[in-house]
Symmetry: D2
């Protein structure tokens, strides 16, 4: 049930609010014997951290992860891995003005409707600060995948109307981290940067999308009928703050295609069964077929604007609101490691599940 | 864990293959005291059944649902509701030729990779016949929603390149069931029919998409951070055979929008807090805000073609395959009740979960 | 959540009432490739069936299990295994008199308190008829265990004041099935039979206890801290109708023992680490240590008496009640296969869970 | 799945080892709006703490609980409640000698068999230090129960051969906390103390048992058929370190009773349906009937002895071991608050589950 737990065997349970003392989580089901490279985990967190460039929020959260259990002499023991990230840069005074006001397109109103009260400091539990814990756990999941040479690479393929229309095969994904917007195509990256900086000046924000490619997948991973691999990936992505859509393989484009165009013909190549095309996105009937898995995730524009907006307070009276503090203009650059982390957790979990499919 | 169970409190566990003796399921967690209108359940199944028009598969499965438990004197007792749908029209001889061959873009290869063997008769467990059980359980869920005046209406908004671009507010959704393709706009419906019939003659197939609107939702329903309402709806939809994408509210369009355009301004209207626009799709931070929920689901073209295709057999040798039997050209007309059923199960489950949010 | 599902990977979900049309269930997570010996499953059901001797209820339920899915060419496919047992001998007229009356020490009152209504025919869902489905699923679990040479043998070690005080090592458990009370010691068995027959004449009933031994267990099976092997076995046993207590290894006797007596000293024997004594009951810290697992389960006397009892009706008025129909004097002989079945499901489930403990 | 999570709606997930930096947990599903009395939680932890008297371990762990999330302005917000207890008194040098040795009747051998490696410091994750987190979460659960006037009181009724044979109705349970062994009968308490102190001198240990009474229960709480209230209580108790047995109501005594003695006759008293006797232990068919719930839990003697014992190391060679450090002679006095905490979590969870039984 637990609504703050993700995963079946490799699972993450999290706690924490934007402006509480700490956020953190418990990774349960990590197999014993895994070397935990804590520097790698910290590096992944650093990729998500605000303040990495002029494009992202200038907050300096630092986000140092501290492991508290489940690791002994550098290896996972099979016991749950508890970890914490202290909130060092809380500044709760920024938010006191929002105690009675519902910010447009935020979760203030809905959390209060659900629970009858809310922690109004910085969005409380609905803040995307929560995703720092996801990135930490995703980094541990990536360590599992590395043993099987499974790679996960996400990148930005759209910011507003600037889109990257090349197939990922034609891109050098090694360039993603060199781009401040995490778009591997240098020319498109420049356009995205300019768009973001222009909107920053106006106090406006912009949406975007992230594409993710999973390479090196073995065939046979997936749990139909209600745990299909793409359904779990979709749920994982839709759990990320600000996500509005998910598609894999041919995605929404499939709706306008004919079967004679869309079918992926099987063939044998170098002793391995492969498909000539990959509209399936590496998943057929909810189970991986050994081809690359790829999917796209759409993000809405950041709801906090630096311009004045109309809204109402909790008594229904009109009010005006202007964003304060430090907020991104566009979330997708920082969403890249989050998308990868959630994908890594799904794949690690499903690799483990696959161990019990057969006698 | 159970990969054949969907839902948390109101849950469905299913069994059955395309050509086994029966399919069916167990609904657990249906609250006691619900009047079970069996004729309504059967009516929903009839909406999904093949052979409803010249556009859908001519199979006559009948799909009579039989309830075996959990109902006493017309009411749910709180005990699990077991039900069965016997397979009356099995014709397994249609499929024996496919025992060693992997049909392109079907799940033959992947199920065999996962389990080491497969029931090759009509796709076995990967057949969309399975969704009959989902529709039966979804009908029971709808009975719960009816008590709260929550309505769920899906309709076809795209078949191939024929799209219905009107906002659902401008459509008369009462016309959906009168259209053989389940498109409520008569003119667009005609175009879709023609497209489908043209492809049928050629032995080809086509994709499409389904839109779904949920009205009458109370605010406060959803289970963040890992059980967000739209994430669960997304998982539900991505579980349906042939689905390639899911978006809610502004969806993928949000990626190209500015915050100043996209934010839904709160206002008070007739004593109720509402939003001026609804790009949020009725869900903010994973919790319903009381506005309509709406989402779109993309379906790929049917993989079984009536023309010859190249493929390979389980030894990797080249083979040719031509679809036999009775298959739809386009799944979206029959997908409409399936989309509604899965949505109904999610909402019923989440209404129950909301009962435990507060003291 | 599902309260009618047992198990994590190898799981059983059941439905059905005493006097409905059928009972049955869905086994999910049975690994693919297992040969399903249906005759063996039926044989296990026959062991539980009423009417096996003059000591057990004379009902002839037959209890023919029919498998509906998940098996192809004699082997499990990895798909859920649906099965049904039709109720052939319903006779609902026996129970109509009990519609408004709460039978003492039955679940009539409590089910009505929970659900607001109840199926009063033969105890409805609270009837021990339900356990037929457990025995069917347990038989499938036993087929998994047989591959690993794990054996499960239960037997009656107490009926009323007649107790079997020998250590199980001193008994010939092969004689259990030859005894009408399923007590492997012929002399004690005779005493138990006489006690039961004497009470039958008086219309009274009697309690008893069952002991169960699991041999051939590998070390390393168990899921602490909240899925300890003995805790799961305990939960499984306490789920069986009429069970009042569970103890494993030294059990309640441990409360009066000293550490210097109770500790099981490790030693190496024939290259294997074993313990000199086995007060631990084969489980230490919730994980099997490779020694025999053994436990005891206490059953209360059957609540249905053939003599008149005082009670009240649902308006609180005094009433008198006399058992009708066909009821056991003592449940433990027929409980033996149920205890084994539940134990088998736990062990099969936990063997699968152990596959994901390490990299 | 998660083996380190307990509960369905009100759930606890824990992490931590005996000698790691901290232990702690996440309470998920605590309803919003509950006043969290942190002093009460600390008080419950103090009851479990070592070093309370000369009878218990002289360690001074302090066990200060720190809440990190899920509480705002003194009330639960519905968000997960993260908490930590730092290990202040680690002294890991005590345990280095045990790295290669399997202590008799501890979990060293079995954890290593399961996971392939182990954290040998103080038993690692298998240490009963873990139960401090359970007591913290149980205290929060008790706050929920207090709103419904449900009381939970445990006490020691056996230490070795010294037993308290009075029915709990005849005891003044208010005296429990005044007894150093937590036995409410002063005379028996004295005998137990003397027994423990005598064994302490000899370096030996002793078993015991705890009885627990739950008062004020409403009827209708329980989740048959696989979530029966007593089965969940049994699992909870069997999860506690050193527990060997569980019985409720008449328990093992029921095995020797006749139905005519054991049946609890219903009657109406002051407008409420009650039973004349309570052999059922307040639970019938897995659902509470409104009478007191009572059960007993048997604990084995502490495995760490202060005298020399034979054992083997991880290469199978003979070794000798003598307990060092600070260990209890008998766990039951400190087990009392642990038993209460686990019972409180079960009842709080099941009260919430009962909210969704009916429309």
């Amino acid at each position: 049930m637990a609504q703050n737990t993700f995963g079946h065997i490799f699972s993450l349970t999290t706690f924490g609010e934007s402006h509480g003392r700490a956020i953190g989580g418990i990774i349960d089901g990590c197999p014993a014997g895994l070397e935990i490279d804590e520097a790698f985990v910290q590096h992944e967190l650093d990729r998500r951290r605000p303040g990495q460039s002029t494009l992202t929020s200038p907050r300096r959260e630092e986000d140092n992860v501290e492991f508290l259990s489940g690791i002994f002499e550098g290896k996972s023991t099979g016991a749950p891995i508890g970890f914490m990230i202290f909130n060092k840069d809380q500044q709760p005074e920024d938010y006191s003005a929002f105690a009675d006001i519902y910010r447009p397109s935020h979760a203030d109103f809905t959390w209060e409707q659900k629970f009858g009260l809310r922690d109004y400091r910085g969005g409380g539990r609905s803040s995307s600060r929560e995703t720092a814990s996801w990135v930490a756990a995703g980094a541990v999941a990536k360590l599992i995948l590395q043993k099987d040479n499974i790679g996960i690479q996400a990148f930005v393929d759209q910011v507003g109307t600037v889109t990257l229309d090349k197939n990922y095969h034609l891109l050098d994904l090694g360039k993603t981290e060199k781009s401040p917007v995490r778009c591997p195509d240098p020319e498109t990256s420049k356009k995205m940067e300019r768009l973001i900086l222009g909107l920053k000046e106006k106090g406006d924000t912009i949406g975007g999308s992230v594409q993710c490619v999973i390479t090196g997948m073995p065939a046979g991973i997936g749990e139909p009928v209600f745990g299909k691999l793409h359904a779990e990936l979709g749920k994982a992505m839709l759990s990320i703050n600000a996500v509005k859509g998910f598609e894999y393989g041919s995605g929404f484009r499939a709706a306008s295609m004919k079967g004679s165009e869309h079918n992926d013909i099987f063939k044998k190549e170098a002793g391995k069964i492969v498909t000539a095309t990959n509209f399936s996105g590496g998943i057929q009937g909810g189970i991986s077929n050994g081809q690359d898995i790829y999917f796209r995730v759409a993000f809405k524009p950041v709801a906090t604007l630096m311009t004045e907006q109309e809204t109402i307070d909790n008594e229904g009276k009109s009010a005006k609101i202007t964003g304060k503090g430090r907020h991104d203009v566009c979330v997708v650059p920082r969403a890249v490691p989050i998308v990868e982390a959630m994908a890594a957790m799904v794949i690690a979990d499903y690799l483990l599940l696959a161990k019990v499919s057969r006698l």
